[in-house]
Symmetry: C2
Subunit: 184 residues, 2 copies
């Protein structure tokens, strides 16, 4: 298959060009991603995402997006949004999926559909403080991709593996990140 | 201050009751959180969250919520949603905030406002594959709370510290989680 006919909607050339430019300009590669959160009531909060810093200057998304989070009714909450821990799955799913599209484009493989199911197991005795041996977060997360593409199963598996290897969210979940929490 | 007059909208008694019940029923504390993602085009994807498993049975959010993710225009993408790595900040902000409200309620402290700013630093030479020594995800995340409450600075700091100690998303980001990615 000729790569010229492949179009997954990813501008791989721009990414390869950016890679060349940033090789010689490491300071432009320093990004800061931001969010602002405001408590509503109970366990309900609203988080806004709009601006970030990168390529040496302030940047903006086309629009500011606001996200509701809450706990479900079975936790005696109002379920005014998905739970915080589910947002982690949204990030992981979308990161791996963007990677699959980018890697497939780079390898000249046309995608027709990319679907994934994610499931994270969690023992809530951790967050309830019942057993200090039980962690608060996920024990395990399983991601299952179903991909329809002009490629062999082996090539599809290799695309997914490469996406995983370059995924920012996969890295954050599988490796420790330093988090500092302060009160102003 | 009397705790009877404090109302942050969190039903602490229900949580304390749940803790007692789940102490004797660890199998009911096993939760499975889920998400389904569908590639749209380019780096744009749509992730749906609706059902989960807990208390021994299938559970449902009041409504199914769908989340767009994309890369920004400076990455030659269409910016049809926030980036996957920003969803991690949404999860962290909302988890810590729900914790602050719950802990304050349990300690009889009335909250008036809880705001937080999050900033995660990331060197994108990692995801671009420029330097294998650079990680893909966040190097550091800083969370700054601004809280107006009927309490001393010291008591407010103690609430935030306890929220951190019991936060599922904080745990996932600061400690490794086992993630398995498969192709069906």
């Amino acid at each position: 298959m000729s790569t010229a006919t492949v179009d997954n909607g990813v501008n791989v050339q721009a990414l390869l060009d950016a890679r060349e430019v940033l090789k010689g300009a490491p300071e432009a590669a320093q990004f800061k991603w931001r969010a602002s959160c405001r408590w509503q009531n109970g366990t309900h909060s609203q988080t806004d995402v709009e601006g970030f810093f990168g390529l040496g200057q302030e940047q903006h998304h086309k629009t500011e997006t606001s996200f509701s989070a809450d706990h479900p009714e079975i936790f005696a909450s109002q379920d005014k949004g998905i739970t915080p821990i589910e947002y982690v799955l949204v990030g992981l799913a979308s990161c791996l999926t963007a990677g699959v599209a980018s890697v497939a484009q780079n390898r000249g493989i046309q995608l027709r559909s990319v679907e994934s199911k994610l499931e994270g197991t969690m023992d809530i005795r951790g967050i309830l403080g019942i057993d200090s041996e039980v962690r608060n977060g996920y024990d395990d997360i399983k991601v299952t991709f179903k991909i329809d593409a002009d490629a062999s199963k082996k090539d599809i598996e290799a695309i997914v593996a490469q996406s995983q290897k370059r995924s920012a969210v996969y890295d954050v979940i599988t490796n420790p990140v330093n988090v500092v929490v302060e009160v102003a």
